[in-house]
Symmetry: C2
Subunit: 233 residues, 2 copies
């Protein structure tokens, strides 16, 4: 009998923002797997470090940071094969996922490669969107407001069109796209309605009105925009 | 010195989907507060029940379920006053919030009444959106996809216009709006791309393709739609 594949969300970075279920599953896991950068660092493993038991088998899956698609795809293929090898001998595998497994996460690449052959359970996690709202002390959406979540890499015109008709907006994965996003919000007259957060919930968390944001942003940064009559920044 | 106001997200309903931080703060709280229905039932308190310590003082805030605005506003005023009375004598108050405090939650009504006078900390929680995606085993958004979150009460034409231009969509708070949402998705040819979830993560959880959804839906139900080439239902 095959093992169970678990996709477990770890939340935005503060280890205390893991769920009780994530902590329990990781703590009793015989095998865990996680993506890591070339060189070995893994943000996912760092979040979970305190709850990983001694003797747990670890599958570190090195994902090249490249704009080319093929090298990453090959790395996901290789990682999925390593996970499958454990599942096939009846071992459960807990895959560690920053944030939530199905919300812009790398787990989906493993899920798409394995879910037709193996039973799978998903444990949702706190996303960076609500962690950033908490850091900004900014209510995201109330009553009948629509929330639009936009990835930073989107093209400038498309992004402007989306934000123009949106109410509350979260722009994810800001990183090197910060100047473009600033231009868009400036043209729409929304700069004063926008907050900037990097590394939400981590010790290095930075929370600023967008107008005061640094010139360069890390990948783990976000911009939240509300258009209400009652701007919160 | 005033006490600290905590807005603590409890996640979608499974007590194990509380964060470690929520469980710690609730467990050591001297005073907790939570909304309850007229008659006394509180979903928030039920989620947290196992971690509430004996002897914790409880402020149950009865919120009338009414389409009229004034009675609910008066109830939030009264609840905020009861919380403020504790904060003013130096006690911290932990407000229990289903899901996430800043994501369509009642906490925002207390926050707006109290945050100018009292220091406040927000603890984000798992939202029903990613809990429903987990239940459906349906990846929500990858790469550069936009996610649009729409409240069920939105008018039919406005909802159709929003969904027509959206990629992934979550329609929250379905309840009595189910027939309208079904009509909208049917006209847009999206019924086969839509999944229905009620009471995500609870023992009574129900997960179905939208076409098989029941005639009547509870308030805590959601419809997720993806338009990808690779529909997941």
């Amino acid at each position: 009998m095959n093992g169970m594949l678990y996709g477990v969300g770890l939340g935005p970075g503060d280890p205390e923002l893991m769920t009780l279920k994530a902590a329990r599953l990781i703590g009793k896991a015989n095998v865990i797997a996680y993506p890591s950068l070339e060189g070995g660092e893994s943000f996912a493993r760092a979040i979970a470090a305190n709850v990983i038991s001694k003797g747990t088998e670890e599958i570190a899956i090195s994902i090249p940071m490249s704009v080319k698609r093929a090298p990453a795809q090959a790395a996901y293929d290789k990682g999925a094969a390593a996970i499958a090898a454990q599942l096939e001998v009846g071992k459960d595998v807990v895959v560690l996922c920053e944030g939530d497994p199905f919300f812009y996460g790398s787990f989906m690449y493993f899920f798409s490669r394995l879910s037709d052959r193996f039973e799978c359970k998903i444990v949702p996690g706190v996303t960076s969107v609500t962690a950033c709202a908490a850091a900004l002390q900014a209510p995201l959406t109330a009553r009948n407001e629509v929330l639009t979540i936009i990835p930073g890499p989107m093209g400038e015109d498309a992004m402007e069109a989306r934000i123009a008709v949106a109410e509350a907006v979260a722009v994810m994965k800001v990183g090197r796209h910060l100047p473009k996003i600033k231009r868009v919000l400036d043209r729409l007259g929304l700069t004063d309605h926008a907050g900037y957060v990097e590394r939400a919930s981590l010790p290095a968390e930075l929370v600023l009105p967008l107008a005061d944001a640094p010139e360069t942003a890390p990948y783990f940064s976000m911009i939240l925009v509300t258009k209400g009559d009652d701007p919160w920044l």
